[in-house]
């Protein structure tokens, strides 16, 4: 199984995307490129629906940190919604639960 971005809703100053599948060394670029493309037009808040994200590791986390750096300057934030336990645990371990909004 690979990765897909199944939904992108851009609205005012927030963009919501849903990531489905495994965000690993083979697939993280799909997300990076999509988010870079979104932020090219306008720096907005990013909300990521992780309901169907089954796997993420440091390659994926690296992408999210890079994106946060980009939008933080304009006081925007990244929210993580519906993440599974194992993914939440990874965010806790790496301290990302303190710099992302985990819902």
């Amino acid at each position: 199984m690979s990765l897909e971005i199944t939904e992108i809703i851009e609205k005012d100053d927030i963009c919501k995307i849903s990531i489905v599948g495994e965000m690993d060394i083979n697939s993280y670029l799909i997300v990076k490129e999509k988010l870079d493309e979104i932020l090219e037009n306008k720096i907005v808040n990013i909300e990521i629906n992780c309901e169907n994200l089954s796997y993420i590791d440091s390659t994926g986390i690296g992408v999210l940190i890079g994106i946060l750096k980009k939008i933080k300057k304009e006081e925007k934030q990244i929210s993580i919604v519906n993440a599974k336990n194992n993914i939440k645990r990874l965010f806790n371990i790496t301290g990302l639960d303190k710099i992302f909004v985990i819902k």
Partner: protein, 131 residues
């Protein structure tokens, strides 16, 4: 019980899911919990990612899965550059960076973690999860 499974994989990202699937079946056979299996998948992938990104190994790397009654030992061996572990710094979690999280994640998720590496002489990552 002390059984060894050995897997040789090409140093290419598209085969990392094979490593993940192996640890997943083996840990499942050992009746480990779902959440533990998820952690094992992340830990092994971090080690394999490093082989592919950093080791500059020529063709293949090897994974040993050693199944014991009370623990699963996983060793990831590459025959690449190695590195100077003396220069390794743990990530500063207050100031997150895009990279530098891999080994730290393995260490956090596993019960034991060891690294043997020398500049120019390959790397062996050894991780243990207790049942």
């Amino acid at each position: 019980m002390n059984e060894k499974i050995n897997l040789k994989l090409p140093c290419k990202p598209e085969f990392i899911n094979v490593a993940r699937m192996n640890i997943s079946v083996i840990a499942n056979n050992m009746k480990m919990d779902y959440e533990v299996i998820q952690d094992l998948k992340v830990a092994i992938s971090e080690a394999c990612n490093n082989v592919i990104i950093h080791s500059d190994s020529e063709s293949h790397y090897e994974i040993d899965f050693i199944v014991k009654r009370e623990k699963l030992v996983v060793e990831i061996n590459d025959f690449g550059n190695g590195f100077d572990f003396g220069n390794y710094n743990e990530p500063d979690l207050e100031n997150p960076k895009e990279s530098g999280l891999g080994l730290f994640i393995i260490d956090s998720l596993m019960d034991e973690f060891e690294i043997e590496t020398k500049n120019g002489n390959g790397t062996k990552i050894r991780m243990i999860k207790n049942v």
